[in-house]
Symmetry: C2
DNA sequence: CCTGATCGTCGAATCGATTCGCCAAAAAGC
DNA sequence: GCTTTTTGGCGAATCGATTCGACGATCAGG
């Protein structure tokens, strides 16, 4: 069933059907009605491929996700969901491409096959070949997180530096003098993963500013590593009375480690950080944390991308989100020694 | 850059370029080499829309996911990832459509716009209008989970009934005489959600067969509900010595509830079930459970769908997975009274 | 009553690939 | 050496939509 079929049944030409549908030229109310009736009856919709070919745009966005081999975090997944939702609101479809490095088949297929009008790149590294590839192909794109050269590209990011710093200030206000940062995994830090770097920077600055003793440890992104990490931290550095973290996947382990050691939060130890809301709420006691605003990030990324598609030459815009810290139950006054 | 450009630079006709690429007609080694050189130089790839229009297939699969409003479980997400990965292996792209009910814009766009060659439907209900819509549109599809009329359609599913029954047998073998089933949420059960129904069925059958006292409770899909549920269960039914569950999201809460009540697992209480591996491994002590094989399910769904696309008239095949139960540390002999 | 503008519709070209039929040159057969 | 077959490549049609130029009908102005 194609536009010709509709035209024949309605007794008009194919172009008239097209104009009736798009409204780009006037069509008599009567003719339009006849056409619409046939369309409703047959449930016709223009073939996406034909339309894409003629119009030169696909009404589809590409979303590049990390490959499944790296288990995606909840935060990433809720971000994917919100991107898809935001795109659907704009009547756009989303094509998924799992690709880590460059020269990835699926990534190449999407880019050089012109399958999408624009791309959202997740899990970006400080130096990322995919960015260069997209620029070369002249395909609009938005990155989640930013590269070492943030000015030339569009991006959406969470201001981990500021948020971690705020946590430090909050804890300092409560009287804590020795605070630890539990960072993401050593591998990520070594790979130049942006959030981990910026968290470290914000942490160090805030600690220095408040004259606070600071300590930084890396921690694998899972419960077991978290348990391990917090136990070693408590043993090796008993002077530490609080920790800040952006490693949400380690939180269940941190909680277990503290419980096992008989540490009561927040009486004996305070903890705060940045985490998707449900990680914070599942923590016991509920975690004082900046909730990563995945919904806004997804919607923001789509908005930025649509703008960029509409005006590819405009100077790139950025969206740096600094969600408020929700004061929950995991932070309290420093214990009296 | 299109096929005409390649043809001009290589000094051949467009059709020759096409044949050189597809191999559907012989092309001299020399000509092919010249064409390939130009293609490599320019990084040419056929325009996906043009190809789709001519060939009548898009080389794209649709994956219908639950809308973001329902927070997707980890299991669902890892399934999405494995579908994408499996599709990528077959050089296919995946289009995501978040849609719950029928008459969803994004679902309709994909189906009647012929944007995909086939569809994978997640979170299917016992009666699902989307199935009818796909059949009417003549679009091949595979469902994850099955409907009330399982014979007419292709599906992949986990045999929750058998797995839950096996858990019951395992616990019965250990001497437990009073076992509870902690099901998914009451809303899901009311909505006719397949896994919940089949789990209940398998549970009841096995309990009857072994002459065991059984009790069924529903439980919301989050930690808080789990904590609540296990507490009430212990209070109201102290005779129960073991539970089986397929509600992985409630596991952290169940664990917490048991710990708070001073119950030692498995000495005082045993628990077993069906859960994605990491939920089982994050449980303390690690959970005896059938690991939901999301990877096989994703790959299986893609395989089935590809078969169906190749032979739409063949009788529908099914894939019922019954992964082995991994004996971990959460089940032990029934406590002596 | 004739001319010029306006309105609605139509036909044809176009997007970029695939594929069928055909033709010329080279190879094989007698 | 001439016919027949094979081979390699070309031109044109096609997929289903959009869009531009044109054309006939209606209407207003002189």
């Amino acid at each position: 069933m194609n536009i010709g079929e509709i035209a024949r049944r309605a007794g008009v030409s194919r172009s008239t059907v097209s104009y009736a549908l798009s409204g780009k030229r006037p069509v008599t109310e009567e003719t339009r009605g006849r056409i619409q009736a046939v369309i409703d009856e047959l449930g016709y919709r223009p073939n996406a491929a034909a339309r894409a070919l003629k119009e030169g745009r696909t009404r589809t966005l590409g979303l590049v996700i990390p490959p499944a081999s790296l288990r995606l975090t909840d935060m990433q997944l809720s971000f994917v969901a919100s991107v898809v939702e935001a795109a659907a609101r704009a009547d756009l479809d989303v094509l998924l491409s799992p690709s880590g490095g460059d020269h990835d088949r699926s990534f190449e297929r999407i880019v050089s096959g012109r399958r999408v009008d624009g791309v959202i790149l997740m899990e970006i590294r400080l130096e990322d070949e995919r960015v260069a590839r997209l620029q070369q192909a002249g395909l609009p794109f938005v990155t989640i997180g930013h590269t070492a050269h943030p000015h030339g590209t569009c991006w959406v990011d969470v201001d981990y530096g500021t948020l971690i710093a705020r946590c430090v200030h909050h804890l300092a206000d409560l009287g804590h003098r020795q605070i630890a940062l539990i960072n993401r995994s050593a591998e990520l830090v070594a790979a130049g993963y942006g959030p981990a770097h910026r968290a470290l920077q914000g942490f160090t600055e805030a600690a220095t500013q408040r004259g606070i003793g600071s300590l930084t440890v890396t921690c694998g992104d899972d419960a077991a590593a978290g348990e391990d990490c917090i136990e070693r931290l408590r043993e090796d550095h008993p002077e530490i009375t609080a920790a800040v973290t952006l490693n949400e996947a380690a939180l269940p382990g941190i909680q277990r480690g503290l419980e096992r050691a008989g540490v009561t939060v927040p009486r004996d130890f305070s903890i705060a950080g940045v985490a998707a809301r449900h990680w914070a709420e599942d923590f016991r006691p509920q975690l004082t944390a900046a909730d990563v605003p995945t919904l806004e990030m997804g919607a923001g990324a789509v908005d930025l991308l649509l703008e960029r598609i509409a005006a590819p030459e405009a100077s790139p815009r950025h969206l740096l989100l600094t969600p408020p810290i929700s004061l929950r139950a995991s932070t309290g006054p420093a214990p009296i020694r």
